[in-house]
Amino acid sequence: MGKKDILISLLIAVITAGAIALFASSSPDGLERVAIDRGFIEKGEARQVVSSPMPDYTLPHIENEKFSASLAGILGTLVVFGLGYGLGLLLKRRGKNGTFLHR
């Protein structure tokens, strides 16, 4: 993949998370549906073990809901891109040295 390919595909991901996701269904997903129907959804609504900076894909302190969700999606996409790419670089380098997790 050349730089151009990477940029174009990253742009598609950013548009998906930042714009198309705004039109996503807000209905509960499969597991949530089963949990609601079978009456155990409230067990998952207790206090979280860790508090997240952008809970439920929204940025706190931003009034406009759509803008907040869009920004959270874009930020998340970039973070995940960086982590995936960075991990790839790390594993590639370690793989060459033959030191990564080799016994």
């Binding site: 993949m1 390919d5 990477i6 990253l10 598609i12 991901a13 950013v14 998906t16 998370a17 198309i20 996701a21 039109f23 996503a24 269904s25 807000s26 209905s27 509960p28 997903d29 499969g30 597991l31 549906r33 089963v34 949990a35 129907d37 079978r38 155990f40 067990k43 998952g44 609504e45 207790a46 979280q48 073990v49 860790v50 997240s52 900076p53 952008m54 809970p55 439920d56 894909y57 959270a72 999606g73 998340g76 996409t77 970039l78 973070v79 995940v80 891109f81 960086g82 982590l83 995936g84 790419y85 790839g88 670089l89 594993l91 590639k92 370690r94 793989g95 990564f100 997790l101 080799h102």
Partner: protein, 209 residues
């Protein structure tokens, strides 16, 4: 299918953490062996795309939605080991930054979606391709494996809920399987669409070619 904190008992989520830690460290080791230079940026791009696509919930029946899991999509591009690592990166970020899936349940979520869904689904893919011949079409195998990846993940998710005694097997299993058999159709459609697009524009990016 991201399990939140509170659904699973300590025994279940603890065991799932151990199994996932073992499975993912194995995949990391395999990744460092099989990773080709061209796959490094692809790891970033696929992570980003799967994360973004998982935000786009599509409606299923009766006020329920589903979203892409992306394990088979990733595996067809970078192979099953790298794909399992990529899906785990997505799950980790969703858990830590977006509170989607609990931290205690992260091991179970990685087990269900990265290990069972991705690697198990890829075994289905290999099986179908074996039946259809080495040069058989890629699309039927892609569709069938995508569907199975979602259904298999939901099967193991059900087992974890049952082992946590949150709901009995005869209640959870049919409910989870039936809804995810529908969500799996969406998974197959999106995966085939994207894989078909990649084959058209960059066939060299398909794993094992």
């Amino acid at each position: 299918m991201h399990i939140p904190d509170g659904f699973l008992t300590f025994n279940v989520w603890g065991a799932a953490w151990l199994v996932s830690a073992g499975g993912i460290s194995y995949c990391l080791r395999k990744t460092s062996q099989v990773l080709k230079d061209r796959m490094v940026p692809l790891m970033g791009v696929i992570s980003a795309f799967v994360f973004a696509a998982q935000m786009v919930n599509f409606p299923v029946v009766g006020g329920t939605s589903g979203h892409l899991l992306g394990g088979i999509l990733a595996a067809i591009l970078v192979g099953p080991y790298v794909a399992a690592v990529v899906i785990s990166v997505v799950l980790l970020v969703q858990c830590i930054i977006f509170q989607d899936g609990g931290l205690t349940a992260l091991g179970a979520n990685i087990f269900n979606m990265s290990i069972v869904g991705t690697m198990g689904g890829y075994l289905v893919y290999l099986g179908v391709r074996k039946i259809s011949g080495k040069h058989g079409p890629i699309m039927p195998a892609t569709a069938i494996a995508s569907w199975f990846s979602v259904v298999l993940a939901s099967l193991f998710c059900s087992f974890e809920l049952v082992l946590s005694e949150i709901s009995p097997l005869n209640v959870v299993l049919p409910a989870m399987l039936s809804i995810h058999m529908l969500i799996g159709i969406g998974e197959a459609m999106i995966t085939c669409f994207v894989v078909g697009f990649v084959i058209k524009v960059r066939p060299d990016l398909i794993y094992g070619k």
